[in-house]
Amino acid sequence: MPKNLQLLLAYWFFIIIGIACTSSLQAQTKAATQRLVLTGSSTIAPLVGEIARRFESLYPGVRIDVQTGGSARGIHDVRKGIAAIGMVSRALKADEADLHAFVIAQDGVSIIVHADNPVRTLSREQIAGIYTGRITRWNVVGGADARITVVNKAEGRSTLELFLDYLQLKNSEIKPHIIIGDNAQGIKTVLGNPHAIGYVSIGAVEFEAQRGAPIRLLSLDGVEASVENVRQDIFPLSRSLNLVTSNEPHGWVQQFIEFARSSQVHDLVRAQYFVPVNTD
């Protein structure tokens, strides 16, 4: 019995030590002097969060706080000086010329079908027709005589937002048959269904297609869907992901922006299925 008790006591002892250690660690990070606040687009926030973590491990004196709230909030907070850097998931508009924008990555979305599907290209109207349920069979757009399975993304995803923006539709107008979460699930769904049509981040699908998955990327408005065309900003279903500042950046802000655009974070950019920019 006493032996068991000793074990129990030792167990509790270790737990208490563990809790004490983590709380002292937290206290340490709180004591860091430099604090950098970034707010804005929820599309960019996960990527910037990862970049910030790597930046913090390189420069232990800096603490970076990433908050979401949409591109509009990013612009607003930078102008008001609440945030040092704003995250904006589109190109700056004409009335935002007072801000400085730095592209950290490109986000491109590609329409995909099964490789057995004879359809090579679809117009914007045809895609809108398919997604709103006006076109329900493949033979209407030059395919086989089969029912179209429409694959849509879950609400709140950035690919959905970009896709809706391209088609000028609201999500409630779309009549989907399958709703998916992440890119991998979307690709698996189209692979398993020769009559499905879906859309996923271009980085994810090009990787799968190169590995021989029977999947086809449709060209849009005559532009071939490829990472290269997204990088050149000529693919219609793409947008740039920006960090914006109100003044010419200097100090830690400048260092962070340069870090976020450097090749040191390209693996993080690709892990989020975005396309890295060429800075060097």
Binding site: M1, W12, S42, A154, E155, G156, S158, H177, G181
Partner: protein, 292 residues
């Protein structure tokens, strides 16, 4: 062991007291965690619960949280339908399996069969999900598109809860006292008569407990269902229509949800929790009836 010395006895009492204290603290902690989860769910969903009337969650036109439509009822029906469907398939299959192991199979076959079922219970849910997505859904799609459907979700859930119900039913049946069965045999009852008249009534509670455990798992299962159910928010008209469950809804949308959207997802978590509470309340009622 003889405890003649007063010293030893005293120490033992002290240790006992200490252990009871630790155990009590542990039990309190477990109960507290449950309460904390409930409190957390209410707290996180409060921004919309205080702003919107409950009717909105029942009466809105659809589920499009970014456009201010918050109807949760299609997802509630999806959750209940997938679980009930899976239970309807599981219960007869599991009972048959358990009876086979206990009363019909030769000893070697019974051991082997039981090992297989145990193995099935150890497979992670995401593996079932992948199997469903790459094999089951395309199969159903050939039969009746789009494949990802209520039926696929029910079949995958059945695979997942089958071992739980089978193993608990097996344990309950194996625990029926041998003398009861001998007496039944001595009375000249056939094997099926013995099972129906003696073994099953005696093992009833254990079997019911297993079914409730499985039902709770089916209600809360997320990944596997998310991969095969199609996740369209609607009331299904046939078995081949896609559905979305409450758990899948949270998993699908929570990563990118902000503000009200996020809070509404916590409301769907709260609803799921209420559903499980109703279930465990029913289990308690069942227990009470047995004792009455």
């Amino acid at each position: 062991m003889i405890l003649s010395e007063r010293n030893t006895l005293f120490r033992l009492i002290l240790i006992d007291k200490l252990l009871i204290g630790i155990l009590r603290a542990g039990a309190m902690l477990a109960a507290l965690v449950m309460l904390l989860i409930l409190f957390f769910l209410v707290d996180e969903s409060w921004p919309v619960l205080s702003k919107l009337s409950i009717v909105r969650f029942i009466d809105d036109a659809s589920w499009h949280p970014l456009e201010g439509a918050y109807n949760l009822m299609p997802m509630l029906s999806g959750t209940v339908l997938t679980s009930v469907g899976a239970l309807l398939l599981t219960i007869p299959l599991s009972l048959a399996s358990a009876l086979f192991i206990v009363f019909y199979a030769p000893i070697h076959l019974a051991t082997l069969y039981k090992r297989l079922i145990e193995l099935l219970s150890g497979i992670p849910s995401v593996v079932f999900g992948f199997w469903g997505l790459t094999t089951l859904v395309p199969l159903i799609n050939q039969w009746n598109p789009p494949g990802a459907s209520l039926l696929a979700a029910i079949l995958v859930l059945t695979m997942m809860i089958l071992p739980t119900v089978t193993l608990t039913a097996y344990t309950a049946l194996a625990a029926v006292p041998e003398e009861l069965l001998r007496n039944a045999a001595a009375l000249g009852l056939s094997r099926w008569g013995m099972i129906k008249g003696v073994a099953l009534p005696a093992a009833k509670t254990g079997i019911a407990a297993g079914i409730i455990l499985a039902a709770a798992r089916a209600l809360g299962e997320t990944m596997a269902v998310l991969m095969v159910a199609g996740n369209v928010v609607q009331y299904p008209e046939t078995l081949f229509d896609p559905v979305r469950t409450l758990a899948a809804n949270i998993a699908l949308e929570t990563a990118y949800a902000m503000g009200d959207h996020r809070a509404v997802l916590f409301v769907s978590g709260l609803l799921l929790m209420l559903l499980v509470m109703v279930l465990s309340g029913m289990a308690g009622l069942l227990e009470k009836q047995r004792h009455a």
